[in-house]
């Protein structure tokens, strides 16, 4: 199995095999971050540009660290979307960067489809680090890696996704990924944020619930989405207080879930609104594991895309130096 796509724009177009391959590759990279010297030379001499048109701390830092642990030169560019709309277009920005010969451009943008737009115009591989309300593929991959780590599998699990489904790229990518790998996904939230047509997003494995209690019933995994006040230009619910009471996750909710339920959140969390602090800081919460796994997933993605046009001669000199800790999986995961 190889991953021979040029770009990572979304989960929807990936096969279950490609997703598993990405996760297996990420598994092999997890070990690098546990070492004293957290660096492998896999992408030495390669340049990764993090082009962020939207504020982000976690994802941008995660990509930057991932690139650096692979020995790539990482450059961060933050552009506020408003200044772009006044001056240089997305395409002109991209063409200028392209002229500097990057090996990979990681892009986050507030508008859905912006990475696809770049992918059409640029030679460099494009990684979607979140585009509007469309997709956030590396978040779904790191969520899946975390679930797999704790549950050993994804197929057959009952997974509840709670919150603002309509505006969430995390929800979309997760629905695509988890249903492709055979999970039973239920989504729930306020009626204004969970359109009934969402059930038609995928052919099977997805149910839309009106009440969050019904979604959580028997769940092995509960994913809570962040209420994104900054993304809403109209009132989708009456007040934060009302949301916290009726759609926030409280300890009593978890009594309905599987006894081994795990709770996840893509962060940053609004404590006491979509998730109570007892749960966020409790033993079922994997919120920080998700962050750690984010590095491994992004290392895998950058490794698979940015090494792109390796010649046959170069390949062997890189391979042995990729993660040493878990030799068996390394060969499986990175075999060209």
């Amino acid at each position: 199995m190889t991953f021979d796509r040029k770009h990572l724009l979304g989960i929807r177009e990936l096969s279950a095999e490609e997703i598993t391959h990405l996760l297996d590759t990420a598994d092999t990279f997890r070990d690098v971050s546990r070492r004293e010297i957290k660096k492998v030379p896999a992408l030495r001499g390669r340049t990764v540009i993090n082009l962020f048109f939207e504020a982000s701390t976690r994802t941008r830092t995660s990509f930057e660290i991932a690139a650096k642990r692979l020995s790539a030169d990482a450059v961060n560019i933050g552009v506020s979307t408003s200044s772009v709309s006044k001056g240089e277009t997305l395409l002109d920005t991209a063409r200028n960067l392209e002229a500097m010969a990057p090996d990979c451009i990681v892009v986050r943008h507030s508008m859905a489809g912006a990475p696809h737009h770049l992918a059409r115009m640029c030679n460099a591989p494009i990684v979607n680090a979140g585009d509007g309300a469309h997709e956030h593929p590396t978040q779904a991959l790191l969520d899946a890696l975390t679930i797999r780590e704790h549950k050993g599998r994804i197929a057959g699990l009952n997974i509840a996704i709670i919150g603002d489904i309509l505006h969430s790229r995390v929800a979309r990518s997760n629905v695509f990924l988890l249903t492709k790998l055979g999970a039973n996904v239920r989504v729930a939230g306020p009626g204004t944020m969970v359109p009934a047509e969402f059930a038609e997003l995928v052919e099977h494995g997805l149910r839309v619930e009106q009440r969050i209690e019904d979604a959580i019933e028997g769940a092995d995994v509960v994913m809570i989405l962040r209420i994104q006040r900054e993304r809403q230009d109209a009132a989708f619910f009456p007040s934060m207080r009302e949301y916290a009471i009726h759609y926030g996750l409280h300890p009593n909710h978890l009594e309905r879930a599987s006894p081994e339920v795990i709770v996840m959140h893509p962060g940053p969390i609004n404590r006491g609104i979509e998730i109570s602090s007892e749960i966020a800081d409790g033993s079922r919460s994997l919120i920080l594991d998700q962050v750690t796994n984010g590095i491994a997933v992004r290392m895998a993605v950058l490794y698979l895309l940015a090494r792109g046009n390796h010649t046959a001669q170069e390949e062997p000199s890189v391979k042995p130096s990729v993660p040493a800790g878990n030799g068996k999986k390394v060969r499986k995961g990175t075999k060209a």
């Binding site: 929807r12 709309s85 277009t89 997305l90 395409l91 943008h109 508008m111 859905a112 489809g113 912006a114 696809h116 737009h117 585009d131 509007g132 309300a133 469309h134 997709e135 309509l166 790229r169 979309r172 359109p195 047509e197 969402f198 038609e200 997003l201 230009d233």
Partner: protein, 444 residues
């Protein structure tokens, strides 16, 4: 000057004509439809239409010509050139120029530029409200004296029902048709595509079909109240068509048009975030397209209009959310309409009715849309069998924002005649007629 369009099949639903006839045009007007073999007048120039269909000139009720104000997208001359290349002898220009066509000066300017281009007839549509801002009535009487053929605030609907009522009542006094772009802004605001499964998949904000339906129902109710002539532009939803169907059953003077892209494409075409798939109203789902085909078949839809909306490549090169709404359509509409004929949705007669007979009636364009004696000598010559591919790089329009570049078609307008003057001849016309003639000779 006399022109004889000879040996073609004349299709004119206004007179129930569909047979092999010769058509004589004198001094820009139809002098008569002659039986083949009837003696010809002297000094006549013969246009050989052997094997071709001869129809009253096609009239596009809905184009955006961008002049004055946005000449980098299109001018009246380039728009008119694209029109005649697509088989349209008359085009009706929406008033959303810069400045808006809410004054006789702008109306006269548009008419002058149209005359200067000397291609298609250009009929200006006046603004319904001053500046098209939905607040004060435009000077419809003065605009009509200057030459407008209808009133509309196209692009935006009039959000206030009371204002729309007053506009309809006032327009009725000048026998001006009120054209509305039905879209309840409170439901569709911020939307960039049809709301449904694909907008959810793509994470793009949707415009619900209901936004069109709500306004269409309102307009039909106001048409009933006021008795005005009301024409719904580019209807794209099942609900809006149902409203029009009901209005017709009630005997109201309510009509509607459909744009070719709304039956030729569905919302899944947006999947690659191609901004040439972005227009308003948006591409709809299969169910709505089915309703449009039904409306074309059963007569609920009165006209085919292009909503030709040229935009510069730099504008369409922006992110999907940022790119402007609209696509060009003058050169592809007739080809797309022939799809309907070949698929058995409509007959050739009905095609002519949708593109010529009815449009003339809807905007009360005198002596057009018909080949009756003394009507204007505007003719569209069609070859239903001609196979071709659209190459947008060769478009006569200034803009290239089409979703149909590289698409194959069967059926085309191969010549366009305005007031007895051939203003467009297909580049391969000689070859087309030569093959028709040999076919004719062989087949008898």
């Amino acid at each position: 000057m006399k022109l004889l369009v000879a040996n073609g099949y004349v299709i004119d639903p206004s007179q129930g004509l569909n047979s092999g006839k010769n058509l004589l045009i004198e001094e820009g007007r139809v002098a008569g439809v002659l039986d083949r073999g009837e003696p010809l007048p002297k000094d006549v120039e013969v246009f050989d239409a052997t094997g071709l269909m001869v129809a009253p000139g096609f009239i596009d009720l809905h184009v955006h010509l961008r002049e004055p104000g946005q000449e980098y997208k299109e001018t009246i001359a380039t728009g008119a050139a694209a029109a005649v290349a697509g088989g349209w002898t008359s085009i009706c220009a929406m008033p959303n120029t810069d400045p808006v066509n809410d004054s006789p000066a702008v109306t006269r300017f548009i008419l002058e530029q149209g005359a200067r281009a000397g291609l298609a007839n250009v009929f200006p549509i006046g603004a319904l409200t001053k500046g098209s801002d939905g607040k004060e009535l435009s000077e419809m009487g003065e605009l009509k004296n200057a030459g407008i053929v209808a009133v509309s605030d196209d692009g935006r609907s009039v959000p206030n029902a009371g204002m729309m009522r007053r506009a309809m009542e006032y327009a009725r006094g000048f026998d001006l048709t009120v054209v509305d772009h039905c879209q309840d802004q409170s439901l569709s605001a911020g939307g960039v595509m049809h709301e449904g499964r694909w907008s959810l998949i793509l994470g793009l904000r949707g415009m619900p079909a209901t936004a069109e339906e709500v306004d269409a129902v309102r307009d039909c109710a106001l048409a009933r109240l006021t008795g005005a002539r009301v024409h719904l532009a580019h209807v794209s939803t099942r609900g809006a068509l149902e409203a029009v169907r009901r209005a017709k059953e009630l005997g109201l003077r309510t009509t509607c048009e459909v744009a070719p892209h709304h039956w030729a494409l569905t919302d899944d075409a947006v999947a690659d975030y191609d901004t040439n798939m972005k227009m308003s109203p948006p591409l709809r789902s299969r169910d709505h397209v089915g309703a449009l085909l039904e409306g074309l078949r059963d007569g609920t839809i009165d006209a085919i209009a292009t909503d030709h909306a040229p935009h510069h490549a730099d504008e369409k090169g922006l992110e999907f959310d940022q790119a402007p709404f609209g696509i060009t359509g003058l050169e592809t509409a007739v080809g797309l309409a022939f799809d309907l004929v070949h698929q058995g949705v409509i007959s050739l007669e009905r095609l002519v009715e949708l593109c010529a007979t009815n449009p003339a009636r809807i905007f009360t364009l005198e002596d057009r849309g018909t080949l009756r004696k003394d009507s204007w000598g505007d003719i569209t010559i069609l070859d239903p069998e001609h196979q071709w591919m659209y190459d947008s790089s060769k478009s006569k329009s200034k803009s290239r924002n089409t979703p149909f570049d590289g698409r194959s078609f069967k059926g085309a307008a191969v010549a366009t005649i305005v007031a007895g003057r051939v203003v467009y001849l297909h580049p391969d016309f000689a070859r087309i007629t030569a093959s028709k003639q040999s076919e004719f000779a062989a087949g008898g």
